[in-house]
Symmetry: C2
Subunit: 352 residues, 2 copies
């Protein structure tokens, strides 16, 4: 199923980028017409014709046609998707980090002893420049204070409430609106073809689970993320509950992604989608299996409609979602497909 076109096809496809100006499709994300058996010609309507779209169609055809030598039994059809930068916007800062920063005032209200203590004092000051200089240790202190110490039910309620109102400043839209329509179509198309679609994210597993069903149609048990421990106990009425503990079980990024996949799924995926070095090992692990395998990387090369960053292909080097030239070269060498947001996607967001 590997495409014969090298990733440099991206440059050639700029010739047809005018297609991006086509009117957006009506966006009923979970409409029956999308969920029912989608034919190949109807599939992926927000994708321009090209190597990326074709790689997806070819993979699905090869693995679902019983007559194909690359047929994959339904039980084994597993596809994994990074979230930040692959399914939704990750710039200028990961959504979950925004959540944690926004959550600090409520935590300090409950624990006043933190008010004068760093890094909390800086967060409360609202000094964005000072926050940008936080060390990893500072960030970990903020994550621990805002993501642990409460019951799993309380955490879900807190995150749900925030997600219902917090907005991305550039689009003035809820974060859960900033989901890529073409990737939702891939999720639906794969599920229509009996693939189980998993999120495999460096973000917190419990955070993503709060909205994964509603936003992506992915249930909590199919979210693999950075995992913290919980502690079983009883409330004052003797009712059992779980408390989120500041104990890291698995950092689901880089090599942690295939490790998390084994832990949570126990099988090697047949398809994997990412957008940065954090996804490299997941794609390598996926590609290491026999038969047809689909490995794809989203390249953010559309500053006008979203963001442009690499530094592959001379795009700006940013701290979030690094896509270095070495990853681009590995993709080319291994037959992975690079998706150009600018050229492969007619529409970027679900709300367009």
């Amino acid at each position: 199923m590997k495409t014969n076109r090298p990733p440099s096809g991206i440059d050639r496809r700029t010739l047809v980028s005018g297609l991006a100006a086509l009117p957006a499709l009506p966006g009923a994300l979970f409409a029956t017409s999308v969920r029912a058996q989608t034919t190949q010609s109807e599939a992926l309507p927000s994708w321009n014709d090209g190597a990326a779209k074709q790689a997806i169609l070819d993979f699905v055809r090869a693995t679902t046609d019983q007559a194909s030598a690359k047929f994959v039994p339904i039980d084994e059809r597993i596809a994994t998707f990074d979230q930040d930068g692959t399914l939704w916007v990750e710039h200028p800062i990961y959504t979950q980090v925004v959540y944690c920063l926004d959550r600090v005032p409520a935590v300090v209200a409950e624990r006043p002893e933190l008010k004068q203590r760093e890094p909390f004092a800086t967060v409360l000051s609202g000094d964005r420049e000072a926050m940008a200089k936080f060390s990893l240790q500072d960030l970990e202190a903020i994550l621990a204070a805002t993501l642990t110490g409460m019951s799993v039910d309380d955490f879900e309620a807190q995150a749900s409430k925030w997600l219902a109102t917090a907005k991305h400043s550039r689009w003035d839209r809820l974060y859960t609106d900033l989901v890529y329509q073409p990737m939702l179509e891939v999720l639906h198309y794969l599920r229509d073809n009996a693939y189980q679609t998993y999120i495999v994210t460096g973000g917190g597993q419990d955070f993503v689970r709060v909205y994964s069903q509603r936003v992506y149609g992915i249930p909590p048990e199919q979210v693999v993320g950075t995992m913290g421990g919980t502690k079983f106990g009883y409330d004052k009425d003797g009712k059992p509950f779980l408390t989120k503990e500041p104990k890291l079980l698995l950092n689901d990024d880089n090599a942690g992604k295939p490790e998390g996949i084994h832990l949570m799924i126990g099988r090697r995926p047949y398809a994997a989608f990412g957008n940065s070095t954090g996804d490299r090992q997941m794609l390598e692990y996926t590609g290491g299996g026999a038969g047809a395998r689909l490995m794809m990387l989203v390249l953010h090369d559309d500053a006008q409609r979203e963001y442009a960053y690499g530094p592959a292909q001379g795009l700006p080097d940013t701290k979030i979602g690094a896509f270095p030239q070495s990853l681009f070269d590995e993709a080319r060498g291994n037959g992975w497909t690079v998706i150009s947001m600018k050229n492969d996607w007619k529409q970027i967001f679900v709300f367009e």
Copy 2:
């Protein structure tokens, strides 16, 4: 859905134990007739009529009937099952421990430095009485040497090979034959009613995954067990693989069961089945949710057809699978249902 009959109903049901002598049903476990929509009157054919069977039927009726106040949406239908002593035989010793002991000679052949070292020397001597005196530390050394240090693929091959030939001495049968037919019927009946059925075992997650699909119809991603870490790396040809590490992530027993359920599933079960104190917290956690919840405990009270141990109800006290009177009393107090193997099950094993 809670039954009004107290667990003491078990004693009354000894009156109808003659039903156990009825001829066994033809045992095509995965026959279409079982998997297709099973009516309530056809369900659970290996169960005698009584409080236990009725509790299962009532629970399924209440949670799947849209007109019921206790209706549960399909997405949320989660049922969890302990394995050892709940789905298959756990006496006289857990199957996985037998595997680890049997595996020692092969490990020593690869690592001769272990040959003279304890506890390996004792295992090689075959002295069962000395082995029975192993400390927890001894057992951990054996588990680490036989369950870790190899690739996940090699481990699966080793365990598969052993399972294909190793036999339980009492029945001279493969361990995977020593599965309880009535519990397989519960798994099928719940799945027929759109429940996801998970194993939640103190046993090793990767060990149970080797045979869970074949034996229980439960795929690897629905096996929650004691979890070890893996390490991503590359072989000499640059091919990526995972090595099983001697790093415990979660001991999926006692309080670890609800913690493992949250980690792997992210939802509270509506039904949970166990047979010992190791399952207590899982049943408490399940029962702590709103609406209809089904909590059941298998009591091994049939020395003739299987084993009899408690010490609840005056049964012998054994080290494996303790069911103390305190658990029996908690079941009675919380409306959990105790299953009497002797009285509730017409047939014990799938091969009868």
